[in-house]
């Protein structure tokens, strides 16, 4: 059975992630291998004007995937791309949102989504896009 494709303009259910603690960042650093001291050293973060170490951009960016999977488990990610435009200090919650921008049909449908992550300042922390395809077309 084939599910109907989403329509352009459809919004993903918005989801809040975090706030991430220093322990969360250390755990992610250990799992991912990204132990850039800026994410782990409060003194270094403060020395560059950040109130707290910034959350790894990839920790926030990867959190879009569960949202996409929960929204449409019949689709899989073919492309995931993002620009990390603003640091999000640890201790701050982030709102993840998305919207279907374009749907192409045919033998191999593709769904293009715009993705946004916004911190407390509401300025975009991540601007990205995802392309989803039906799992059966993989």
């Amino acid at each position: 059975m084939t599910n109907a494709l989403p329509q352009a303009g459809t919004r993903l259910p918005e989801r809040n992630v975090g706030p991430f603690s220093g322990g969360d960042l250390r755990a992610y650093a250990e799992i991912s291998g990204d132990n850039n001291p800026l994410h782990l050293d409060a003194e270094l973060a403060q020395s560059v004007g950040l109130a707290a170490p910034p959350v790894h951009g990839m920790l926030l960016f990867a959190a879009f995937e569960p949202i996409l999977n929960d929204w449409r488990p019949d689709l899989r990610i073919e492309r995931l791309s993002g620009r990390f435009t603003q640091p999000v200090p640890s201790g701050e919650a982030v709102s993840l949102s998305g919207r279907v921008m374009r749907v192409s049909g045919g033998d191999k449908p593709r769904i293009l989504l715009r993705l946004m992550a916004n911190g407390a300042s509401r300025a975009p922390a991540i601007v990205g896009e995802a392309v989803l395809v039906p799992r059966e077309a993989a």
Binding site: N36, M58, P66, S81, A138
Partner: protein, 126 residues
């Protein structure tokens, strides 16, 4: 500007690491998360190569792209070839990785864009 080609390196979708990664990003299911291959840049020999290219500067992650030709499978070995492309103005390092099966079939192209700064020159806008 300089360009360095490295690899191929042997990488794996280790089930225990995949499970830990899923937990960290709040994911469930049985798939390899699309963003998981970023962890391979932390693998010792790959990380050493990237750190050498950073030459003492702090890398700030500016952008990331994953382009899949086919999904990865859990518990499988792959080959990762890396192309490090350094730009001078402003200093940036683009790490372009190509992940293939052991037989050489393309699975994924991954681009990691790093802004390189010296700590004293870090700015909030970086």
């Amino acid at each position: 500007m300089s360009e360095t080609r490295l690899g191929p390196f042997c990488v794996r979708t280790e089930p225990t690491q995949i499970a830990a990664y899923r937990t960290a990003i709040g994911a469930s299911g049985d798939d390899v998360p699309a963003a998981f291959p970023i962890c391979w840049l932390g693998q010792a020999e790959i990380r050493t190569a990237v750190e050498a290219a950073c030459a003492g500067r702090l890398p700030l992650h500016e952008g990331q792209t994953f382009d899949y030709a086919r999904p990865l499978e859990v518990g499988t070995e792959y080959r990762l070839s890396l192309n490090l492309h350094e730009q001078a103005h402003p200093p940036r390092l683009a790490a372009n990785a190509e992940i293939t099966t052991v037989a050489g079939e393309i699975c994924l192209r991954m681009e990691t864009l790093l802004r390189l700064v010296v700590p004293a020159a870090l700015e909030l806008s970086a």
